[in-house]
Amino acid sequence: MSAKVEIQYSELVRQAIIDACRKLHPREEIKNPVMFVVWIGSILSTMFLVHQFSGFNLQICLWLWFTCLFANFAEAMAEGRGKAHADALRKMRTATMARRFNQGKESAVTATELKIDDLFICDAGDIIPADGEVVDGIATVDESAITGESAPVIRESGGDRSAVTGGTRVISDRIVVRVTSEPGHSFLDRMISMIEGARRQKTPNEIALNIVLVSLTVLFILVVLTLPAFAAFNERAAGQTGVVLTSLPVLLALIVCLIPTTIGGLLSAIGIAGIDRLMRRNVLATSGRAVEAAGDVDVLLLDKTGTITLGNRMATELIAAPGVRPEELADAAHFASLADETPEGRSVAVLVKEKYGMRGREVAEGHGHFVAFTAQTRMSGMDFPALSSGAPRRIRKGAADAVRQFVEAQGGLYPKAVEDTVSDISRAGGTPLVVADDSRVLGVIRLKDIVKGGIRERFAQLRKMGVRTIMITGDNPLTAAAIAAEAGVDDFIAHAKPEDKLQRIRQEQADGRLIAMIGDGTNDAPALAQADVGVAMNTGTQAAREAGNMVDLDSNPTKLIEVVEIGKQLLMTRGSLTTFSIANDVAKYFAILPAMFGLLYAVHPGAHGPLEKLNVMHLHSPESAILSAIVFNALIIVALIPLALRGVKYEAIGAAAVLRKNMVIYGLGGIIVPFIGIKLLDMFLVAVHLVR
């Protein structure tokens, strides 16, 4: 997608400026209560301008409007990218023709006429008209329109790579596809609505923060509105009149300076930018809520294969049981793997071919019938009917304990030597597959896992962030423990059956933890739906993609870690800018209060009163001080737009350290920066004669 949607920066800015003006409509402004107050202030100051025109009042009025516009601009900038994205996707949804396949007959219909469970055919060069599941054939598909990934992917019937997406193009071969989505509810439609809809609803944290900001706004409005009463009381006591600046524009300027406009103006931009950052990493979130939840995740459930280990396990060695010839073991292993299309199965066939020179056997040879691997039996193999030469044979290969049960159930013995070999292999981090022929154990196949480079460091970072990782594997506990230790995960579930995942998620949730998991298979769907953050892989089945609340278009399982980081960044940016916004108020008091009250209790006209001492920045005049403060307040919004869009830098250094660092930068910095900024602006405004 990132490859497809090229966005011109200048175009983005131009569009954002137009949108910023459009957002001045009260219907838009009322959505953001803090900025709505500024908006009302702008209108009041404009009305006051008509009543009492002066250069000063005009400038205040203009800067109040600018404050509104800058906040709108920030939001429009953040929205721009997503909008361009959605527009590009929408163009793809043009009416394609479909070749409906009905009882052996083909008919041409438009894509919108396809209903659930209809079958259609796609040949090389066809655009797939609707989401569906391949029921026959295998094809390479160019999914770059959706994922931005130019390398074609393979889609085949059965298994976990059967889902195809409307709008993508078949580049080779022919497939028959069963439609799985209603027209208008396709994955493409969902993507568009995700991109557009995710920003519409406020997330729980955003709502809570908004309440805090609105309360502070109310407080500061009251602080300012009660000031004229206190000032007038003092004026009467001092026997002075009109020395305190409490004209409407000054009070409005003070209100706008004090209420948290910096965070108020950038709040929605931060949220949108968070979703956008995910999107640029090719992850689509169904809601902002999901992104936020990602930041809170306590536990990551990760499948071992593909996430923690590279690709697939490979068979590297055959170890025969005592009294069994290696060739006999190789022969049985080959039979058991002939029709086994899993990568492990193929690797056994490859090993046998290379080491023992067996090749070209057909499944039909020996009239065997293949027994596929299931998560329940955890074995695969071949059944041979009773032939003239002897009794029926059943060859099995599979997890050690499963084969042991199988053998012992038939009265066979499970040799101690095999048991030792199995645990040796497991302890070394390999996976043993035991091969049996009826009640006889023939030997062990060693499968090896290769842990991905750098994954250990990622898990260490996650641990510092407070996220525990749990590896899920079908391996036996020994193998699992070895790999877990090598990869540095915190915990593992061995012998995992699909329902174990769901069980573990429920159990962790009952303990109050938030769980994220990534999955692709149909049997992952319940767990994906149960997890607080469920990331479905785009290559996964339709069921998985429906169940998750995020879709990873790259189908890269390590992406989950980035998702967590982005979620955290989103909250950190909000918190940091809130702190910054409030800390800014200190300097603004030291600019505006002496400006308002500097002449109070002056001994004679023209002299300063005691409160002039608060003018620690030595600002030129009351007017320059007030104007500098309001200009600073408006410009800081613009200055922080890049930070809001980019997010506060995230480091995995533990909560207390992160807090200390951000408090120094945004808390202490928030107190100091405006002192410097306001002073510089004051000097500038005086130098260009904008104020007396």
């Binding site: 729980p204 809570a208 805090v212 602080v223 009660t226 407070g466 409160l611 909560a655 207390a656 807090l659």
Partner: protein, 564 residues
Amino acid sequence: MKTNDIVQVLVFFILLIGLAPLLGRYMARVFTGESTLLSKLLAPLEKAVYRSGGIQPNEEMSWKQYFLAVLIFNLVGIASFWGIMMTQAWLPLNPMKMGNVPWDLALNTAISFITNTNWQAYSGENTLSYFTQMAGLTVHNFLSAATGIAVLLALARGMRRATVQKLGNFWVDVTRSTIYVLLPLALCMAVVLAGQGVTQTLSAYAEAQTLEGAKQVIPLGPTASQVAIKQLGTNGGGFFGQNSAHPFENPTPLTNFIEVFGLLIVAASLVFTFGLMIGDRRHAWCIFSVMLILLAGSFAVAWWAESQPNPVTANVLPQLEGKEMRFGVMNSVLFATATTGTSCGAVNSMHDSFMPIAGMMPLWNLMLGCIVFGGVGAGLYGMLMHVLIVVFIAGLMVGRTPEYLGKKIQAWEAAWAIVAILLPNILILVGSAIAVSVPAGLAGLGNSGPHGLSEILYGYSSCAANNGSAFAGLSANSVFFNLSLGAAMFIGRFGCIFAVLAIAGSLAVKKTVPASPGTFPTDGLTFTLVLLGIILIVGALTFFPALCLGPIVEHGLMVSGRAF
């Protein structure tokens, strides 16, 4: 600063830090229903109370039921006490034949004592009968303090419990607080005070012949019993108008020491009780430290300011205007900052007479909401509202939905915490602004100019924070002040209690999330500093403009030799 002063201050703080955890542990045992040293003696009394009230001690309440119980209990208290005052002339124990109290003053006083404020727009010795003092003031000194403790207990249970609705039984909490904590402590203290010369009699006022031959009436009364609970329960309502500056209420330096200590000890110990109840003693120490720093800070600034020469009074030192000779500067300032840091409000000197900056510190303590140990219960739950906001902001800053003691802090908690913090602030600002703008408000002022503004700010701050001390100088016994300050007290008290219980109820229902390295720790130096910083900044941002036009400008004028 004499060595003597410094030794006293050190002894005071060391005793406080040493004894608070002990009393805290005792109270934790009491409130969790474990047996204590006093159980054998007092359990029958406790049972008798339940039996006579028809209370099922094991029946717990949801937060709404709990609030309703608080409200009904207090409304009945206000009505009955109001009734007693308006009919005291016809009631017994009235040797001085005091007349009935006017309706507005009586209403103000009733609200004042039920809300643990003890704002007094009257002088006890010329307004109230002994019966009113004993059956009204003293009783509510106990009950209002017990109410504060009860609400704190409900909050602590809400934080500790998980996935339940119930927060405990209000009647049990009030009964236990009164019988096992307040009564024994008050009894001991009253005996010591009486031994030191605080009056304790039901006879009529004494008459004496002065050296000049004039006749003088010397007010007496059952003082010691009331003063003890006035201090311990952070009530602060004096038996006499001069409060603890009166020689029959606070006769010696020793009683003074006991009284300052008494007003802090229960509130300070409750921090540790809370720590034990939530199972996090390190967190309790952090909160205790923040309170201690705020108290010591305001005391230090005030003591320093009060030791500066005043050009308006020819730079005479020490400044003894408004202070009792037997206490001196340090003990007056310590009493002033302690009584305003807690919501006690007893005074042993006139804060109005302090230097502007020294007078600003008690005012500042009130504006922060009396959270420096605070009113028994009330101060800590007020502080915990700040803690929730700190946790909320800090939680966001570390990139995680904020959690406090394993509970997620979401919109509901954030909203009610900020209501509890801002409600008193709004009452102070709006109330004061109205008072300085209307003739009825200006009529009560003893001074014009910035000092007058300080008097009014102090009045509303004192009432909104349920403190009850006065800056003096403000004649507050008028319909305007009685009603507006009464409203401030009522809203300030029950608004906050509602918010606190709403939070407690919501927290109780939530699951407890186990802490992880990604959780912001609430038991370290970082937390302590951030909490301190946020309290100071939010307080300063709210009140700096008003303080500028009050004590700060007054200070500027005083330095140049001008006064109002």
